[in-house]
C-alpha cells in the first residue's frame, strides 16, 4: 500500500466527504469522527510522502495507469512535500479547534459543513500534489467553490462579500485557465514537466509571454496581491469564525505555492527571471502591496479585519521573495509559506476564541481580556510576536531570509517595505495589547449576560499547540532550510 500514498492523500478525504454528506442526512453525530479520520489519514500520508521524497527523491504517480503527458500524473518533489504537510497539518489542528464553534454556529448543518470542510482540504491538497496544469484548475475551482460557501454563511454582509469573492475568484481562475490554454496552443501539452521541456524552443513567442502574464495576473487575483486584493478583507472579516481559521491560513499560501510552481517548474527560472526589469517590477509591486496593506491595516477597528489586511501584506512578502530571484529570497518565500500558515492559524484561532466568548471583535470591547482569557491572549501575543518578527519565533527567520535576499538583489525598496511593515505590525498589535491589558475591565459581558471567561479546553489545547509550534518551528528553522528547502530550489539559481 505504501506505493499508493500519493493517491491515498486525496482519495481518503474525498471518499470521506461523501460519507459525511450522507451521514448529515442519517446520523449527524458521525460527521465529526469521519472528518477526523480523513484528516488523520491525509496528514499521515503527507508526512509519509515527505519522508519518501527525502529518502528516494521525486515521487511520480500515474493516475489510471497512463503515463504522462497522455494521462494525469502526480509529481511530488520537496516543494510539494513541504506544502502538503503544511496544508494537512493546519486542517488537522483546525478541525479540533473549531469543533465547539461549528456546533454553535451550524447546529443543523453539520453534515454539509464538514463535507465542505473536507472537500476544501481535498481541493487544496490536490492543487499541491498534481503535476498537470489543467487538473490544477479543476481542483482550484473545488477549493474556491467550497470557500465561497463556507465564507458566505456568515451574518449580515457575508453573502455580499462572498459574492464579490466569487466574481474576483472566477476572473482569477478564468485567467489561469486562459493562460493554460495559451500554453497548450503553443506546446500541445498540459503536463507541467512536459511543457517545461517543450518551452525553451519557443521562448521568443508572444504567445508564451502572454501565457505567462495571464497566468500570473490570474494567480495574483486569487492570492489577493495589493491592487487586486479588494475582495479579501470583507470576505474574511464577515465570515463565520469556524471557517475563517481554515481558509485564511491556507488559501493565499497555496496560491503562492502555485505561483512558485508555475514560475519555477513550468516556465523555469531561465524564462521567469530572464528580464531584470520584469522581476524588479514584480518586486516593487510586492513592496507597494506590503506598505499599502500595512497602512490600511492601521485604520481598521476590528481584530478580524486588521488580520485580513495583515494577510495581504504577508502575500506581498512571499511574492517579493520569489521575484527577487536569488537563493535567499526564494528560500525566504518558501519558509514563509510554512511560517505564515502557522502564525495565521494561531492568530485566527485566538481571534476565534475571543469571538466565541465575546460575540464581537471590535477593539472597543477588548478591555481587560488578558485577565479574563489569559491563555487565548497569550497565544495571540506569541502569534503577534511571530508576525512582527521577534527572534525566537519562526516569523523572524523567514523575514531574515527575505531581508538577506533583498540585500543580495539590491532591492532596497523591498527591504525598506519589510522593515516598515514590521514596525506597523508592532503598532497594530500593541494597540490591542494596550486595550486588553491596561484599560479597565468591564465586569460583565457587553450585552449584560454571563461574565466572560476563558474559552473551553478543546479550543484552548489546539491553540496552545499552534503557539508552541511557532516557537518550535523557529528553533528548527536551520534544519528545515538545510534538509528540505535547499532541495526544493531549482538548479541554476544564484
Amino acid at each position: 500500500m505504501s506505493d499508493h500514498f500519493p493517491a491515498l492523500i486525496i482519495v481518503v478525504p474525498l471518499l470521506s466527504a461523501f460519507f459525511i454528506a450522507a451521514a448529515g442526512w442519517i446520523r449527524r453525530t458521525l460527521c465529526f469522527p469521519i472528518a477526523l479520520f480523513a484528516m488523520t489519514v491525509s496528514l499521515y500520508s503527507a508526512i509519509a510522502l515527505l519522508c519518501e521524497v527525502v529518502t528516494e527523491g521525486r515521487v511520480i504517480y500515474h493516475l489510471g495507469g497512463w503515463s504522462p503527458p497522455w494521462g494525469i500524473a502526480y509529481d511530488i518533489d520537496y516543494l510539494n512535500g513541504i506544502v502538503l504537510v503544511v496544508v494537512a497539518a493546519v486542517a488537522f489542528i483546525n478541525l479540533f479547534a473549531t469543533r465547539s464553534s461549528v456546533a454553535l454556529e451550524f447546529p443543523r448543518k453539520l453534515g454539509p459543513f464538514y463535507a465542505l470542510y473536507v472537500l476544501f482540504v481535498t481541493g487544496l491538497l490536490g492543487i499541491v500534489v498534481t503535476g498537470d496544469a489543467f487538473n490544477l484548475y479543476v481542483l482550484l475551482e473545488i477549493a474556491a467553490l467550497t470557500g465561497y460557501a463556507l465564507l458566505g454563511m456568515g451574518e449580515g454582509r457575508a453573502p455580499l462579500a462572498s459574492l464579490n469573492y466569487i466574481f474576483m475568484g472566477t476572473i482569477g481562475a478564468s485567467f489561469y485557465l486562459l493562460g493554460i490554454g495559451y500554453l497548450y496552443l503553443a506546446t500541445g501539452s498540459l503536463n507541467m514537466a512536459d511543457i517545461a521541456t517543450l518551452l525553451p524552443e519557443i521562448y521568443h513567442s508572444k504567445v508564451v509571454l502572454l501565457a505567462f502574464i495571464i497566468c500570473m495576473t490570474g494567480l495574483f487575483i486569487k492570492m489577493a496581491l495589493f491592487p487586486l486584493h479588494f475582495w479579501l478583507p470583507d470576505a474574511y472579516a464577515y465570515s463565520p469564525s469556524a471557517s475563517i481559521s481554515l481558509i485564511a491560513p491556507l488559501t493565499t499560501k497555496v496560491m503562492v505555492y502555485v505561483m512558485i510552481r508555475i514560475a519555477l517548474t513550468v516556465f523555469t527560472p531561465r524564462f521567469s527571471f530572464a528580464s531584470p526589469t520584469v522581476s524588479a517590477s514584480f518586486v516593487w509591486l510586492a513592496a507597494i502591496a506590503i506598505v499599502m496593506a500595512s497602512i490600511m491595516a492601521l485604520s481598521q477597528k476590528s481584530v478580524k479585519k486588521m488580520l485580513a489586511y495583515i494577510i495581504i501584506a504577508e502575500v506581498g512578502y512571499m511574492v517579493g521573495g520569489l521575484w527577487l530571484g536569488n537563493r535567499n529570497g526564494i528560500t525566504g518565500a518558501i519558509l514563509h509559506i510554512i511560517n505564515d500558515a502557522a502564525m495565521t492559524l494561531c492568530v485566527f484561532l485566538a481571534a476565534g476564541n475571543i469571538l466565541f466568548k465575546l460575540k464581537q471583535d471590535s477593539f472597543d470591547h477588548l478591555q481587560g481580556l488578558f485577565r479574563k482569557m489569559p491563555f487565548s491572549m497569550a497565544a495571540l501575543v506569541i502569534g503577534a510576536l511571530s508576525i512582527i518578527g521577534v527572534p525566537p519565533t519562526c516569523g523572524f527567520f523567514s523575514k531574515w531570509y527575505l531581508l538577506l535576499g533583498g540585500i543580495d538583489a539590491g532591492q532596497y525598496g523591498f527591504v525598506a517595505a519589510l522593515i516598515f511593515s514590521s514596525l506597523v505590525n508592532v503598532v497594530l498589535f500593541f494597540r490591542i495589547f494596550e486595550i486588553g491589558f491596561f484599560e479597565s475591565a468591564q465586569e460583565h459581558h457587553p450585552t449584560g449576560r454571563a461574565p466572560i471567561e476563558e474559552a473551553p479546553l478543546e479550543m484552548l489545547v489546539p491553540l496552545m499547540v499552534v503557539a508552541a509550534l511557532l516557537i518550535v518551528l523557529g528553533f528548527y528553522t536551520g534544519d528545515i532550510v538545510n534538509n528540505l528547502i535547499r532541495f526544493a530550489l531549482p538548479a541554476g539559481i544564484a
Binding site: L15, W25, G65, L116, N135, E141, A149, T187, G188
Partner: protein, 276 residues
C-alpha cells in the same frame, strides 16, 4: 470614475489579448503544436486501448478520468453549497387543510392530529397551493417519459455517439425540473424528495471514486480500470470500456440529483414549499 477605470481595464485586457493573436498558428491548421504533440496518441490509440470509438468519451473517462472525477465532485460541491447557503427550515403551520378529491370535502387538521395517509385521495390545499394548468400538465406528462428514455440512451450510448453521463444526467434532471414547473414543487418533492436527491448525488459520485478505489484495492493505480478485468471476467481492454460505462452512470446520477436539488433550493428560496 469607477466606470472609466473599469472600461480602461477591460480595453487594456482586450488589446493585450489581441496583440497575442499575432503569433497564433492559423485557425484550423493541422500542423499546429496543439494538434501534433499529445492528441494524435488519443486518436490512434483509443480503439486499441479502450475499445471506445468516441474519442472524447475515452479521454474524458479514462485517460483524463481523474479530472472528470473532480468535475463530478465540483457539481456535488455546488449542490451541497446551495443547500448549505439557502436552506431554511420552517415549522409546519398549525392548521392544515386537505381536500378529499372524490367527494370534495375539505378536512381541517390541527397540530398533533393524525394526518391522512399520503395517498392520491387527499390533496393538500393552502395559500401556496397552485392550481395546475390542464394543458401544460398533460403535455408535460406526455413528454417526460420520452425525455427520460432519451436521457438514458444518451448515458448508455456515450461510447459510440456524442453524449455520456454528464449530458444524460442534465437531461434527466431537466425532465424532473419540467415536472416540477408544470405541476408544483410539492408534487415533484413527492416523486424525488430532497433527501433522496441529496443521497443520490452522494451515491453517484461515490460510484465514480469507489470504482477508482476498487482499482487501488486490486493493486493497480487509482482509476486504472484494467484492474477490473479480474472481477468482470473480461480482457483488460474491454474492462476499460466497462469501467467507463460504470463511471458514466455515476456521473449521470450525481448530475441529475444535483441539478434537481439546486433547482429545488433556488426556486423556493430554500424553503422547499412553493416552486415557480
Amino acid at each position: 470614475m469607477n466606470k472609466t477605470i473599469g472600461l480602461i481595464t477591460v480595453v487594456l485586457c482586450g488589446v493585450m489579448l489581441l496583440i497575442g493573436t499575432a503569433d497564433f498558428p492559423d485557425w484550423g491548421d493541422p500542423q499546429s503544436p496543439a494538434s501534433r504533440h499529445v492528441s494524435p496518441y488519443y486518436i490512434e490509440k483509443s480503439i486499441p486501448e479502450t475499445s471506445v470509438p468516441n474519442i472524447v468519451t475515452a479521454v474524458l473517462a479514462d485517460y483524463r478520468g481523474y479530472d472528470t472525477m473532480f468535475e463530478t465532485t465540483v457539481i456535488f460541491t455546488a449542490g451541497i453549497a446551495c443547500f448549505f447557503l439557502l436552506r431554511v427550515r420552517r415549522k409546519e403551520p398549525e392548521i392544515r387543510y386537505y381536500r378529499h378529491i372524490p367527494t370534495g370535502i375539505t378536512l381541517r387538521i390541527e397540530q398533533g392530529a393524525k394526518l391522512p395517509e399520503d395517498s392520491k385521495v387527499f390533496e393538500r390545499i393552502d395559500t401556496l397551493y397552485a392550481p395546475h394548468d390542464l394543458i401544460i400538465k398533460t403535455t408535460a406528462r406526455l413528454i417526460i417519459p420520452f425525455i427520460l428514455i432519451f436521457a438514458l440512451y444518451v448515458i448508455a450510448h456515450g461510447h459510440h455517439s456524442p453524449g455520456g453521463g454528464f449530458q444524460g444526467g442534465v437531461i434527466l434532471g431537466a425532465a424532473i425540473i419540467l415536472f416540477a414547473i408544470s405541476y408544483d414543487l410539492r408534487s415533484a418533492n413527492r416523486k424525488l424528495s430532497e433527501r433522496a436527491a441529496a443521497l443520490l448525488s452522494t451515491i453517484g459520485v461515490f460510484i465514480y471514486a469507489g470504482t477508482g478505489a476498487l482499482c487501488l484495492l486490486l493493486a493497480s493505480n487509482f482509476l486504472d480500470y484494467s484492474a477490473l478485468a479480474s472481477i468482470l471476467g473480461v480482457d483488460p481492454v474491454t474492462a476499460r470500456s466497462h469501467g467507463i460505462l460504470i463511471v458514466e452512470i455515476g456521473v449521470g446520477t450525481t448530475v441529475m440529483a444535483v441539478m434537481v436539488w439546486i433547482y429545488y433550493n433556488l426556486s423556493s428560496r430554500g424553503r422547499q414549499d412553493e416552486g415557480l
